[in-house]
């Protein structure tokens, strides 16, 4: 009996540990919304305002990479109500049936305000396998941020011609050891493809042809990309995923492959337009600019999707409606530096005198941040038409030559997006090939004789060490003992302990 009770107690002790871990499950489902987003990717004040407005508590968490998020969703499909992956991951999740379709009639204003360009692009992305085969990605996601990839460069050392193509900077020996590319296989692979098939890409007439080339994953293309990346590796400062924007602002490097949001941030910091923590502005350190090479580049879309395990639909739609309001969109753009997929809709803002006025995203962001028509003389500058994004109407802005790079980091021109392709999700077989290629690019490869030599030397050393430690067990290993003892060599008289008593 005693034994039974104590075992029961011990079990209770351990099980109480588990209930501690599992206690999140028991919370009431209707009032909590679990959202998982990239780091630094939302104005978190909005979350508190959402709770004040609706009474729904947001349990907000962040993830590092799309693949980490995927692993979490595989292990526990019911871990989140809303997640924000990129389009290729949304494609993979939809193919495997891990997310559900959304009902846009429950999200007031979203479809009207979404940019027509984005809608068209998302509509053209089809799920290739699984139960949702043939559906477009548009049906699964509420658009959040989008952007491109290109060179951020230091205008003092790098000319705009050199960054108008992907391999231009590698031809200039003065830029040796001053360039970084992405330590992310998808991003570097598409850069490699653009270098390998540069001529074909420049002759391509439309986006479909470019998309076909930038999605090639046959063995030959993969090997060619591997060779190309290996050939530029000696000229690289390094591979990075988040240190590049600091390195270019500090002047350690002169050009780096950047995502457009990071590009906008780096340019602003270097130009002294970002507030420090104490509210002061740092001075203008150096002039950076952004360029999307002529061969073409990657275009990406991040959106809110609902995992198949989520049942909390009411809260999900309330949140999606809230986050898609033009005012929230503007605040998120202001906070993150990325560009929202939503371009339409009006909201009220306050001017310096505290007076309310109606405005929209185009006048606040594009005209407010970039327009330089007042400073420029007649005939100077570049006139950029953004009506492809904002819809029909007069959506033009005049910027200087220098301001153009900063503008396209936020809103690329229609001509640029035409040469930017979405990169599909790799199948698992393709991933194996690309894995081999990437390993060869990132790692060193010694010739076989050197490998064998090193392994032999290491094994030999270890064997010697083991023998030395166990020398007592192997009598044949014993080193010959010194013939003369210390006392004999010094000529001292030796008295044995047994003899001491006799003296």
């Amino acid at each position: 009996m005693k034994k039974f009770i104590s075992i029961a107690l011990a079990l209770m002790l351990t099980s109480s540990c588990f209930t501690l871990f599992g206690c999140t499950e028991s919370k009431e489902q209707t009032s909590v919304l679990r959202v998982c987003n990239c780091e630094d990717y939302i104005d978190e004040e909005l979350l508190t305002e959402f709770t004040e407005e609706t009474g729904i508590v947001v349990e907000y968490s962040t993830y590092g990479t799309n693949e980490n998020l995927y692993n979490e969703l595989v292990i526990n499909p019911n871990s989140y109500d809303l997640v924000v992956p990129s389009e290729y991951m949304i494609e993979k999740l939809a193919e495997e049936g891990r997310i559900q379709k959304l009902d846009f009639s429950k999200i007031n204003g979203y479809e009207d305000n979404l940019s027509p360009f984005i809608k068209e692009r998302l509509d053209s992305l089809k799920v290739k396998n699984g139960e949702y085969k043939g559906s477009s990605l548009y049906e699964f996601m509420v658009g959040y941020m989008w952007g491109t990839m290109g060179w951020v460069y230091n205008t003092e050392y790098v000319s705009s011609e050199e960054v108008s193509s992907w391999d231009g900077v590698f031809a200039n020996s003065e830029l040796d050891n001053k360039i970084t590319i992405k330590d992310a296989v998808r991003d570097s692979y598409i850069v490699g493809l653009a270098m390998v098939y540069g001529d074909q890409l420049k002759q391509s007439k439309n986006n479909d042809e470019i998309s076909e080339i930038l999605n090639r994953v046959d063995r030959d293309s993969i090997n060619l990309v591997g060779d190309k990346l290996n050939s530029i590796k000696p000229m690289l400062y390094g591979f990075e995923v988040d240190s590049g924007k600091n390195d270019i602002v500090l002047g350690n490097i002169y050009a780096y492959v950047a995502w457009s949001g990071d590009a906008a941030y780096a340019i602003d910091v270097a130009a002294g337009e970002v507030e420090d923590d104490d509210g002061t502005f740092v001075e203008n350190i150096r002039d950076l600019s952004y360029s999307i090479p002529e061969e073409g580049s990657n275009i990406w879309f991040d959106g809110f999707v609902m995992p198949s395990g989520s049942t909390n639909h009411d809260a999900v739609y309330k949140f999606l409606e809230f986050i898609s309001r033009p005012e929230s969109v503007y605040r998120n753009m202001n906070y993150t530096g990325y560009t929202s997929m939503i371009g339409g809709g009006e909201f009220s803002a306050e001017d310096e005198n505290g007076e309310e006025y109606q405005t929209d995203i185009f006048s606040e962001v594009v005209l407010g941040w970039f327009d330089e028509s007042e400073d420029l003389e007649e005939g100077e500058g570049v006139l950029v038409d953004l009506s492809y994004f904002f819809g029909e109407g007069d959506y033009t802005v005049t910027v200087s030559e220098e301001g153009f790079g900063r503008l396209i980091a936020q809103y690329p021109t229609a001509e640029i997006v035409e040469r930017c392709a979405i990169m599909s999700n790799f199948s698992s077989e393709t991933l194996m090939d690309i894995n081999d290629m990437w390993e060869g690019v990132k790692g060193e490869t010694f010739p076989s004789w050197l490998i064998i030599l090193i392994v032999c030397v290491i094994v030999l050393l270890m064997a010697l060490m083991v023998l030395y430690r166990n020398k007592d067990k192997f009598p044949w290993l014993k080193l010959p003992e010194r013939k003369k003892s210390y006392a004999e060599r010094k000529g001292l008289k030796v008295i044995k302990i047994e003899e001491i008593s006799d003296i």
Binding site: S6, A184, I434, F446, M462
Partner: protein
Amino acid sequence: MTEKFINEEKKTRKFSFAFSRKQLCIPYGLFLALFVVLPLLLIVFYAFTDKDGGFSLANFVRFFTSSTTITTVIISVLIGLATTLICIVIAYPVAYILARSNLNRGGTLLMLFIMPMWINFVLRAMAMKDLLTLIGVFGFNNYVNVIIGMVYDYLPFMILPIYTVLIKMDKSLIEASKDLGASSFKTFTKVTFPLSMSGIASGITMVFMPTMTCYVISDTFGNGLITIIGKLIDEQFTTFQNWNLGSAMAMVLLVIMLVSMWVTGGFKSDDVRGTNI
């Protein structure tokens, strides 16, 4: 009367709760099973299966036939060896001085050496990189940079065990050696150093093994141009979604670790592993 009392006592004790050692071990046993044994079994399972869950040796074949993977392992081992050697060379004199001299009254000096360990090591690594760039020693060779970073980060793990052994050493042995006419140098080579071997051995296990997988440092200090085995494993689990190959790599690494522990005598029970401060 007394007999009756004893019988009563026995009766009441029957119903009082007293945990035996075995019973107290149950929670820990469960913990070990759940968080140590089970994950290990999972690694073994994944390593010997393919994507569909069938038995397969393909992961190991892929590992041992790719000269890039083998080269990466060799580079990791070499970086680990270099780091460990440099750590011993730097740490031994430091530990010796700390243990012997009056400088370290009340452990203040030791505290200064240990204090960096209280700060997040990613932060330390990045700060160190910026500092090295600033004074200009950074950037001439990526391997040297990585080894500098590793030594900087793992030095306390070498100092501590050696220090602990030296401070606990029986001083009368040294006195005896000197009484018998041995010089200070001879005392060191014949008495102090052999007796501190166990500290060096546990220092080696604590430095060599983590350096092979600590890819945060190799990425930060090598600008992403140096790949070590830990990075390869991470990429299998994240970027390439190939848990099977990743597990196979982890298993090979595990075997390397076991062998290196056996070689350095890490399994010997008389080791001083007291590194807690």
